[in-house]
Amino acid sequence: MKISMDALTKVFYKKGQSVTALDGIDVGIEDGEFVCLLGPSGCGKTTLLRILAGLEKPSTGSFSIQESGRDRPLQSMVFQERGVIPWLTVKENVAFGLKMRHVPKAVVQERTAFYLEKVGLDKFAHLYPKELSGGMKQRVSIARAFANDPEILLMDEPFAALDEQNKFILQEELLSIWEETKKTVLFITHSIDEALLLSDRILLMSSQPGRVTEEISIDLPRPRTMEMVRADPKMTEHFVRIRNHLDREVEGSRT
């Protein structure tokens, strides 16, 4: 197992009131697997990701990320497009993780250039993010995470703020980079189509308390396109099943 979570629980407590955001999450993720966490908003999926990202501490339980022994960071996060730092240029943003880890200059230079070219931003390397479109900013965020060469990648609804057109393009770009590197990815989304297109496995979450209630393996051959997802009757079946699950969850939280 690349990532193993053992009874991860997170309770938010404030002045006599408590909310159980995560309730005993036991999940294992294989090396090289692409897993999507799908659930209604407020189901704790972001909390789970933030715990794995080291931005939040679990109340109880633990997790581990297997190290491959080389000089690599454990994890890197692809933030939403707001996560691109405005006072750093495109290039400096992509190099950010490497510089923080004091990687030798030549390596920083080489890896930054490689991933800038991969996401098609080499011509924009010296611009500031204010001059970029939403899709380009998200490419910076993706390049920054991949350039850091972490054991696992965490992605927090990276395409949620993009328009349909850009979303499709970026999803396919992400898949093509991922297929070259075969990183282990944990990806949060609330889009069923996105989850079907990207995942090897989808984990469905329930809300309050946040639990993983169901998992679905997606065995569509790769490389995939959205047309393939649409054309496959089994995927349609999955879609309806997930849709019903989400409906139930949203209904449940209303009553």
Partner: protein
């Protein structure tokens, strides 16, 4: 209907010309207000509608300025005032930025220091001048400290506000990518707080000028403030006006310089 109005490009070109003309008109308005005041002043003073002894015409003030420059004494006053402003400004701004960054980044430091700053801020540094004179003597140090004291507060407060208002997601990014304390300080807090910090420095610059004139009036025997005060006491009002105009000139100049610095330091805005 005229012929060209059916051509969309021509219509838009007309619109563009109108906008250009509006821009020029606005620029003209900006230059015209000070000129208008000066012309009016000159006129009223020359015709005797206001007492020329109290309000000498601007052209005469300019004449006095050249006469005073010729002796070289004027530049000594300007030089000493500028030295006090720059030294005091640096002595106030540098600690203010460092303390402000620490207060913004580390909330225990913020909670510990902010009551002191809030309590000291309302006291005009000039009211502390007697104590400053006792502590630092009547020499240059006391003037520089007075300036520093009044510049410190707006800068420290704006720096703290600047750091606190940095979007949390940038701190998350830095944490997630393993930034150490030094990187947090120089790559996130300092550049992130810089826009608000520079507003504070702009304010500090204005306060420094206000303070230097008053301080030199109270306890100095050189400088622009001293010049204004002694000219007034000797009823040399033209000389006094030269001093006032100099203060106004330097205030405007410093503002422009800081605006220029701002666009240099914040290319990402």
């Amino acid at each position: 209907m005229k012929e060209f109005e059916h051509d969309p490009l021509a219509v838009e070109q007309e619109e563009w010309k109108k906008r250009q003309w509006m821009e020029r008109w606005k620029k003209l308005l900006t230059i015209s207000s000070p000129i208008l005041i000066l012309v009016l002043w000159e006129f009223l003073s020359r015709t005797g509608l206001v007492d020329a002894r109290f309000f000498p015409p601007p052209t005469e003030i300019i004449g006095t300025f050249f006469a005073m420059s010729a002796s070289g004494e004027l530049f000594q006053h300007i030089g000493i005032s500028l030295f006090r402003i720059f030294a005091g400004f640096l002595l106030g701004v540098i600690p203010a930025i460092i303390i402000g960054l620490f207060m913004g980044l580390y909330s225990p430091i913020r909670h510990f220091l902010s009551p002191l700053i809030m309590a000291l801020m309302p006291i005009p540094t000039l009211a502390l001048l007697p104590i400053i004179l006792i502590l630092f003597g009547v020499g240059e140090v006391s003037k520089v400290v007075t300036i520093a004291g009044s510049v410190f507060f707006p800068v420290v407060i704006n720096t703290v506000a600047g750091v606190i208002n940095i979007d949390r997601i940038y701190l998350d990014v830095a944490t997630n990518y393993g930034a150490d304390r030094k990187s947090f300080f120089f790559k996130i807090a300092l550049p992130g707080a810089l826009p608000v910090m520079l507003e504070g420095i702009q304010m500090g610059q204005a306060i420094a000028l206000l303070t230097i004139v008053a301080a030199e009036m109270m306890g100095a025997n050189s400088g622009i403030g001293y010049l204004i005060w002694t000219s007034y006491k000797a009823f040399l009002l033209q000389e006094m006006f030269v001093g006032l105009v100099l203060i106004s000139f330097f205030g405007y100049l410093f503002s422009l310089l800081l605006r220029g610095l701002q666009s240099k330091l914040l290319p990402w805005r």
